[in-house]
Symmetry: C2
Subunit: 278 residues, 2 copies
């Protein structure tokens, strides 16, 4: 099986490493950066790399697009004439409904596209940040669409499992986007808001404990990518922020009213739910 990884960044690079470590010998890489390709070849993550996908695409059985959301549908449009009949494409994008809408309008009938989301990002960038062990024990989501063949869904699930993912769950694109707005995008919005707050200063670290360091970690964010992820999921994210604000307002009210009982109830509810989860 010939597998092409399009985009050897921190995620694409980690997939290449993981597939290679899982025993796949025919993993090919495409990247606009020649140095990236040379590094990936030298380290043995890929059998061969090229800067232009056209040079290898017609031999590929699986094409993993590790690109920004805005690049997915244009890649399909530009390269679909070269797709081998029966090719399975897959993406790693953190938003689904919008991408699916864009891709399904341009995808040829002879190709299948399994929309997937490996849920282990990185604040690092580029192949030098690649590390397939990041996927060990991580979760992934697959959002099936009516055109998907069951065997292709299973193929992608199998590849994920082989490179270390623990749970690969099928969910609807709508539920995916709604939940990701909460568990991931809201976290990034809050972390960014904390760091950008005018109360932040050079002396902040004198006062900071581990919770501040932890909570602000994801404010070191790839803005090019995350602005696309946020804007491709605007409605769900805005809803998620508003639901969060209801809770923050309740907490503020208890402070304003010096209402210890309500405050204790708020803390108790959070503690119970957090313990239930972890």
């Amino acid at each position: 099986m010939n597998i092409a990884i399009i985009g050897l960044g921190v995620i694409g690079g980690s997939f290449a490493m993981g597939l290679q470590a899982a025993g796949y010998k025919n993993v090919f890489g495409v990247d606009i950066n020649l140095e990236t390709i040379e590094l990936a070849e030298k380290e043995g993550f890929i059998r061969k790399g090229v800067v232009d996908a056209k040079d290898i695409l017609s031999d590929m059985d699986v094409i993993l697009l590790s690109l920004y959301p805005s690049q997915i549908a244009p890649f399909v449009t530009q390269h679909k004439a070269l797709f081998k009949t029966g090719v399975v494409l897959t993406d790693v994008t953190g938003v689904k409904t919008e991408i699916i809408k864009q891709v399904t309008t341009v995808l040829p009938e002879t190709a299948d596209f399994i929309f997937a989301h490996p849920m282990r990002g990185s604040e690092k960038k580029g192949i030098i940040g690649a590390d397939h062990t990041r996927f060990v024990g991580a979760n992934a989501l697959i959002t099936p669409v009516p055109i998907n063949k069951e065997e292709n869904l299973q193929l992608i699930e199998q590849l994920y499992k082989e490179i270390g993912f623990e749970q690969v769950t099928r969910v609807s694109p709508e539920l995916h986007d709604e939940q990701i707005a909460y568990v991931s995008q809201l976290m990034h919005a809050l972390s960014v808001g904390v760091v950008n707050s005018s109360q932040a200063s050079d002396e902040t670290l004198t006062f900071a404990g581990n919770s501040f360091q932890e909570l602000t970690r994801i404010a070191d964010i790839n803005g090019e990518l995350w602005s696309e992820l946020f804007l491709n999921n605007r409605a769900a994210l805005l809803n998620s922020i508003e639901l969060f604000e209801v809770e923050l307002d309740a907490l503020k009210k208890s402070l304003i009213e010096n209402d210890e009982n309500t405050l204790k109830k708020i803390f108790s509810k959070a503690t119970t739910q957090r313990k239930h989860w972890y």
Copy 2:
């Protein structure tokens, strides 16, 4: 030097362990729970423990109060008749201005009180959660007041260093409370708000990556303690929440207006500041 730890909870217990590990042979413990005392004696964290502070207080050179904020001033009031002349008291409370106000009105002239804040809490409770290695590399703050003797400030700083604290910084009580509202209390308010949000559900974990787990860690919170900490620092915390909301509103506005440029600027600002800090 005889040192009494009043309250052998997760923090007091860790101090006892740390002092013992640093070679202090005369560390005594006071706790209302007899089992806690027995455990602390058996493990060798303390030389001897009692349930009533009155039994040992008159021999103590240093008294470390590891109590809830509301218990500090009442403890001084109830026991000050027993204090040895020249005794040095210290606390571990996460808020300072209000505690200082309460304590300085009841403290006898023959005693000194060094107000301190070891900045390494725990979501654990009780002596079974005690572990002095939590302090290794941590920061602590001391908020001097005019009555403090320099030698006593240095004594407490020295004890902190000996049990592993890396940085022990002197700051004004007002700056302490203002900054703690931001770096610590705001983080807890946000984490609690995230977990209590109505979008939280049993299936949340199917979608959650590491950022969600990290950001919600401190929502498992000691509500008895934190309601006191929040309410003793109400004005500063409300101000901190409001400054944060300005940033969250800016981010929301960029989403509503589909304004990718502004969103990228917001992310870029956060990334620069976060990298500057860590």
